[in-house]
């Protein structure tokens, strides 16, 4: 009865999925992500510093590869500390940055508004303005600024077709492979880029201080960690199964430890499978059936080189 019910549900879901594909203008399989970097650069003013203005700082949002974000972001609003005049600063065009001078560190709320065909909901970021270097004793120079940047990605899980068409080949955007058979309308020719003010930050005056973010190091680190963890998992499973077999030989066929044994086998096999532990998992599953014959257990143990 229940199986019928669940299979009915599955069928219903499939039906809906098909319908959605036809009816919906938004694309569910395609996710657009925009890698951005946001942060601040702060210079100590040195001799020219006074009590209220000791640093000159710039807070900004830029593309991770310094591409022009203007195709996606319509404007950026930086909310400064209330002690500033007009603490709500609106930047209508790229590069989305704001320079000010001051003495205090505070949290800046950055709100990004997107173009109409991109998204009608704004996105909030928070950045803590940093003026003073980590080590207090270090020599502070006018030439070398304090730089704090954070990498993140703006994700649009269901972009509209118009947006997709518009930015399909823009360098600032990460577009995954479009599903097979999916064609986009040709992009609308953009106005002559030389006429407009440059929105990218490749030749920005502060570009020399921009940090580099590479995912390769992080991926390597994560892969190494996963290797280690899976190795540990294998060792643990082996031990668990060995205990099971130990019980088996000790308590014989049908008495007390039997329940515990089958539970162990079951739980060992229910954990995630990696290629190296497949053999072990298969054996663990099969032992539930052959547990009536302890003789075979001994044989199998030997084949898996588990010492008794």
């Amino acid at each position: 009865m229940r199986h019928w019910f669940v299979s009915f549900i599955t069928f219903f879901v499939l039906l809906l999925y098909g319908l959605a594909q036809i009816l919906n203008k938004k694309l569910k399989d395609v996710e657009i992500s925009i890698p951005i970097v946001y942060g601040n650069i702060a210079f100590w003013l040195g001799k020219k510093a006074n009590e209220y203005q000791s640093h000159k700082w710039t807070v900004y949002v830029r593309g991770a590869t310094n591409e022009d974000l203007g195709v996606v972001i319509k404007r950026a609003v930086f909310q400064l500390h209330s002690s500033f005049n007009n603490p709500t600063r609106v930047i209508e065009a790229p590069p989305f940055e704001l320079s000010e001078s001051g003495w205090g560190e505070f949290e800046i709320a950055i709100t990004l508004y997107f173009h109409n065909d991109v998204c009608d909901k704004p996105l909030n970021l928070y950045h803590h303005l940093k003026l003073y270097p980590e080590d207090e004793s270090g020599f502070v120079s006018i030439k070398k600024p304090v730089v704090v940047e954070s990498y993140d990605e703006i994700v649009f899980p269901e972009p509209s077709e118009g947006f997709l068409a518009r930015i399909q080949s823009h360098p600032s955007v990460n577009l995954p492979r479009l599903p097979a058979g999916f064609t986009l309308p040709p992009p609308v020719p953009v106005e002559d880029s030389s006429k407009r003010r440059r929105g990218d930050t490749k030749d920005h005056p502060l570009a020399q201080w921009f940090m580099n973010f590479s995912e390769a190091d992080e991926l390597l680190q994560l892969a190494a960690a996963r290797q280690q963890v899976s190795g540990l998992l294998w060792m643990n499973k082996k031990t668990l199964v060995a205990i099971f077999v130990k019980y088996h030989l000790l308590c014989g066929l049908f008495n007390i430890g039997f329940d515990a044994c089958s539970t162990l086998a079951w739980s060992a096999s229910s954990y995630s499978k990696t290629p190296t532990t497949d053999k072990l998992d298969r054996w663990a599953e099969s032992t539930v059936e052959i547990s009536l014959r302890p003789v075979n257990a001994l044989l199998l143990m030997q084949s898996f080189e588990i010492s008794t």
Partner: protein, 449 residues
């Protein structure tokens, strides 16, 4: 340059401090008369809403000019039809007994049962199921017992159910009402006319009520289980609708798992640790899948989000089944492995790797905990039944295997057990000659093959 300005303090002191001073003075001044201060404080310092006892009334004595006597006097009650004279004590004031009816006579209410004449019966009230005598008897009983139908049904000569009696009574009353009314419109507001008695509905209702009341505990449990399962199926259907892409693998996962859980629930035998552990290991995986699917759905609803936010949500969903301590251990493990808790470069690939790593660490920690439990069980079990087995030095080799696991495990109990066995070994053999003999046939079998 005002010091207060720099520090950001407000210029004027808070007015609140001044208000607070006046309040306690007021409280101590007010103290009611009549009852002591402590008793008044018990009420919370507030007067009761209703006047409870008028204090001045308590000590009042009757006015001294009146002469009160108590006399044993006869009385009659208008409620009685038989003029029976009874006696009771009466408070006589100045030799004048009180006047008026018996004070409880006003409580003798009765129901106005409809009275019909012969002609009226012939004209409106004939019914194939009811004879005139029966109807008359019914009405007589109704009058006597004030429409207590249970009693009437009991007293009724021919066995009729309560619903039948009620049906007949209400139909007759209704017919009489309508017949006697000058115009139909007059009585259309009367409840009898507006809502006629529906005996079949009543029977149904009473049957359903008795069924609900007489449900056994077993039945109740089954009902709640079925309802819970239906809810779960409905929820899984919601998540499946929300994430149509991942619906297929999720639904197929649910299939064996739901059947699994159902099997465990339907087992009316006492739940063994076997069933519990199996369901416990199955349940977290299903709930994790459901959480994953629902967070994906909720992220999709957002239309735009930062990847770090998305990662946070997924991490939360994945560790929703784990307690706070487990989460801390996962984070500790991550740090030990040299991985930052929040990736510095959160690209899509990095985030998914990070999430997978967290899940694997969670699995590892759970497995290690299980291993600990089983080892503890094993050591206690072995102490009880371990006799002599070949290859005891090989047991210690297994211990060396275990040191690969970084987490410190309770080896203490295990090792102690083993030492005891080594001591006990020779002694045991001498004590129970039968058990090695029992074991030997089995060992022969093993070595035969």
């Amino acid at each position: 340059m005002d010091a207060k300005d720099i520090l950001g303090l407000p210029k004027t002191p808070l007015p609140l401090a001044q208000e607070k001073k006046s309040q306690p003075k007021k409280d101590s001044q007010r103290k009611p008369d009549g009852i002591s201060r402590e008793v008044y404080a018990l009420t919370g310092g507030l007067a009761p809403l209703m006047p409870s006892i008028d204090v001045s009334q308590l000590k009042r004595r009757p006015p001294s000019d009146e002469k009160i006597t108590w006399q044993w006097l006869p009385f009659t009650s208008s409620a009685r039809k038989d003029n029976l004279q009874l006696y009771h004590w009466v408070r006589v004031v100045n030799g004048v007994p009180p006047t008026g009816d018996y004070s409880f006579a006003k409580y003798n209410k009765s129901v106005d049962v409809v009275k019909y004449t012969e002609e009226e019966y012939e004209k409106y009230l004939t019914d194939p199921m009811w004879t005139k005598e029966e109807t008359d008897q019914l009405f007589d009983l109704c009058e006597r017992f004030d429409l207590r139908f249970v009693v009437i049904a009991d007293r009724f000569t021919s066995s009729r159910s309560v619903e039948e009696l009620k049906d007949r009574y209400y139909n007759v009353s209704r017919a009489m009402l309508i017949a006697r009314a000058p115009s139909p419109g007059d009585v259309s507001g009367h409840p009898l006319v507006k809502e006629p008695y529906n005996s079949s509905q009543e029977t149904e209702r009473k049957r359903a009520l008795s069924m609900v009341l007489s449900q056994t505990k077993h039945q109740e449990r089954k009902d709640t289980q079925v309802l819970a399962e239906a809810k779960r199926i409905a929820e899984s259907r919601m998540t499946a609708l929300g994430t149509e892409e991942s619906a297929l693998p999720v639904a197929s996962n649910f299939d064996p798992d739901i059947a699994e859980v159902a099997v465990n629930l339907d087992d009316t035998a006492s739940p063994s640790s076997n069933a519990q552990l199996a369901s416990a290991s199955v349940a977290p995986s299903t709930s994790a899948m459901a959480d994953n699917a629902s967070t994906l759905a909720s992220l999709r609803m957002l239309r735009v989000y930062m990847r770090t936010y998305g990662l946070e949500q997924m991490v939360q969903a994945a560790s929703s089944s784990a307690g706070l301590r487990t989460i801390k251990r996962v984070e500790q493990t991550l740090q030990d492995l040299g991985v930052s808790l929040k990736p510095k470069v959160p690209t899509k690939a990095v985030c998914s790797e990070h999430l997978e790593l967290r899940k694997e660490i969670l699995t590892l920690l759970n497995l290690q905990k299980q291993l600990q439990y089983k080892e503890a069980e094993g050591s206690s079990f072995r102490d009880g039944s371990y006799t002599d087995m070949p290859g005891s030095p090989k047991w210690s080799q297994r211990d060396q295997d275990r040191t690969f696991i970084p987490d410190s495990m309770s080896f203490g109990g295990e090792r102690v057990g083993r030492r005891d066995q080594k001591r006990k070994g020779p002694g045991r053999v001498s004590e129970n000659p039968s058990s090695p003999a029992h074991k030997r046939p089995r060992k022969l079998k093993a070595s035969d093959l």
